[in-house]
Symmetry: C2
């Protein structure tokens, strides 16, 4: 944090003496000191064993009070995108990333400027994008949401014209992140409706006055390729989901300068549980409508989440981001290389093709390091790839969830090292049986 004092209030004999923070600090240190054999963690708010010590929460395939029992016949968890690969980074930066919240920290609804948005955190986010070079923030508005999740929905509302006569058509290009479709259908507004794949609408008349809202994910979830929107025209608005547009996962060719871009801390620092995302918006009217959405939906975002995001970004910004991105990139690249090597021996399974590309952040050509593997089952008879992998004790995400063919399965590469080792091991066994 940028706060630094010359205060001598708590200094005695040259040493700082804590008063009211002692208990909280002690509690946190003691929980952190529970080792869980390196295959799990204990948390301050975990369930408690024997009435005193918090329970170790073990990684998949590990069990026992201290997570020391490994089970070889368990299922590899490669389904969800929990970004535990960055956990060791934060353990390494324990001192600089810790934050102590006082009982009276920001009790009111708003910050001193009457908004739900920390002005300081906005400045950090602008600095971050300038440093990484992945988005243009100058002259644009920034708003916060409960993860990118809330902002995706807010954006659809804000971009829809308020006319029940002609609801906006919401589209995305397969394979795509299922949330776009599911949210749009569930909230079921009179102002918009989900209208399937973008490709169905590619050749529509440019004179069509119906509003189109296209989701473009770059790099794409699942397969990690940089993409652009497909539709053009004055009646088309695009929501750029840049959740993965960070140097861990992708080369950054140039700063994105789109009208509406959504980012999230989940895939930047790995703090999915914080539920903190932001949108960068060019148009004031769209920005104001998104602000209204977040106000009426949740009255802004938890102050604790904003405080923690501030602390985490402060660490990210150290040495101009080099440390976290080099750390993250190294892990993701290694995992991709190992996975490629295992599957290179297979004719049954193939991986998406990704090429080395110049990255303006690292200032060099870098190897691919995607967040997910997009595996295809190549054999004619393997038309449900999810089931094929499931039979080999690998739990991925079905192709159809991404509106793609079930010959595809998404495997998450961003989970803990334990999860990745188990996954690669199961894959090696599966390939060896071909």
């Amino acid at each position: 944090m940028i706060v630094s004092f010359s205060s001598t209030l708590f200094v005695e004999g040259g040493e700082w003496k804590p008063t009211w923070t002692t208990g909280a600090a002690e509690e946190a240190e003691e929980v952190a000191a529970i080792p869980c054999s390196g295959h799990g963690r204990a948390y301050l708010d975990g369930l408690v064993l024997n009435g005193h010590e918090p329970v170790c929460e073990c990684n998949s395939c590990y069990s026992g009070l201290d997570c020391s029992n490994f089970s070889t016949d368990c299922v590899a968890n490669a389904m969800s995108g929990d970004p535990y690969f960055l956990e060791p980074f934060w353990m390494k930066h324990a001192a600089s990333s810790a934050v102590l919240v006082s009982g009276w920290h920001r009790m009111g609804y708003t910050y001193s400027d009457g908004s739900y948005i920390s002005e300081l955190l906005v400045k950090y986010i602008q600095k971050l994008h300038d440093t990484v070079g992945n988005a243009v923030t100058e002259g644009k508005y920034i708003i916060f949401g409960g993860g990118s999740t809330q902002l995706l929905s807010a954006a659809v509302y804000a971009l829809s014209p308020n006319t029940a006569v002609s609801p906006a058509k919401v589209v995305a290009t397969a394979p795509y992140y299922p949330m776009y479709r599911i949210q749009t259908q569930f909230f079921n507004s009179r102002d918009f409706s989900y209208e399937g794949d973008t490709t169905l609408w590619k050749n529509i008349s440019v004179n069509d006055t119906t509003r189109f809202i296209e989701f473009a994910t770059s790099p794409n979830n699942p397969e990690g390729k940089l993409t652009k929107a497909l539709l053009n025209g004055s009646n088309v608005k695009t929501i750029y989901d840049h959740a993965y547009y960070w140097p861990h996962f992708t080369p950054i060719p140039s700063p994105s300068d789109e009208d509406l871009m959504v980012f999230t801390i989940s895939k930047l620092t790995g703090h999915a549980g914080t539920r903190f995302g932001w949108a960068i918006i060019k148009d004031e009217e769209v920005y104001l409508k998104m602000l209204t959405y977040v106000q009426l939906n949740t009255m802004g975002i938890s102050r604790e989440a904003q405080l923690r995001a501030l602390k985490l970004l402060d660490v990210v910004l150290e040495r101009e981001g080099r440390e976290i991105f080099e750390f993250g990139y190294k892990i993701m690249r290694d995992r991709w290389m190992r996975l490629k090597k295992v599957l290179s021996k297979s004719t049954r399974f193939s991986l998406q093709k990704l090429s080395p590309q110049y990255c303006s952040f690292f200032k060099r050509v870098r190897d691919p390091s995607p967040a997910y593997a997009w595996v295809k089952c190549e054999r004619q008879e393997d038309n449900n790839c999810y089931e094929i992998l499931e039979a080999a004790s690998i739990n991925g995400a079905e192709g159809i969830a991404f509106s793609a063919d079930n010959r595809y399965v998404r495997l998450s590469l961003i989970r803990s090292q334990d999860d990745f080792e188990i996954l690669i091991n199961k894959l090696r066994i599966l390939v060896s049986k071909e």
Copy 2:
């Protein structure tokens, strides 16, 4: 927190030695030590002065670097419901309410049971309701939301039948909290629509198969009276908003045992900025649909908010809640008494009538202590009471916002002591001019 160790890991010469938590603890103590003349606070995430010390954020009518300048010609802020009246309680309980969040605290999307909801926090909430005796939780489901705000909307979605043929009719009884109407209209779902005041629908046929969703707020915001839903019938579902059903604000005649009850930490502990609310739900199907809503809307609630709520409720539960509720009740009762006394000299302004009533929590008859004054301008010509008060430098909330007559104004009594003193002073001057 219930964690207590016999660990000797960090003990040296009989004294605990902090390691990685020192910086965070020191930072928090130093910010807390900035006095702001007792008329403001400095926060860890406040903007920074001179490049090092955080700026004091001053209460209304106070200004200057240390909030020591009082301006008599400023406006009394009695508009919003920021619950700063409980801030001194948390300053008094600084040691037990502080929480230190490590950099790697709960990075994943879910808790170890795969949910977005802390099991431990659910237990605390159940214990709290049992202790206070204000709600029956046994055999019911509990879910969390971003304040009660998100849950009100989730409940409307969950209670609406999925049929565009006959959308649910959402109603409330004036005067009522404006959010019910504004949310329902803004989200504009094909599954429901806002249909005005409950009284318009009181005499509808019981054979009507259209689903009605009635909001009932008890005690009511604005005027603090305990209420019941007006509509009955198998086609009617009620959402009980119990934000103010705590011993600070109202007698608790008996535990509420409704099918769908919404609570929030904002008005319980005063932490509006945390955005933490919960709903207690009888019907499994409704519970599951509300879970889906929160999942698709924000993927659950910030882990930091849940951790802090846990810590705060741990303090609330000390001595079976007696301390916080006695503290809160005393302040609210005193404010109400003083306000009544000032307005008793007026024929121009009147207050809502509230009577002493037996409270099962305090086990005695208690005086009224409402969160808001619902002031009426009695003179024929004073048909816009908001403007009358505004001319006297008092900023309240207009009657029409609560779908009531503009002869009414809501004045917030739950803000800081500074705000209340300024308000009472302005009112005294106004009444003296009659």
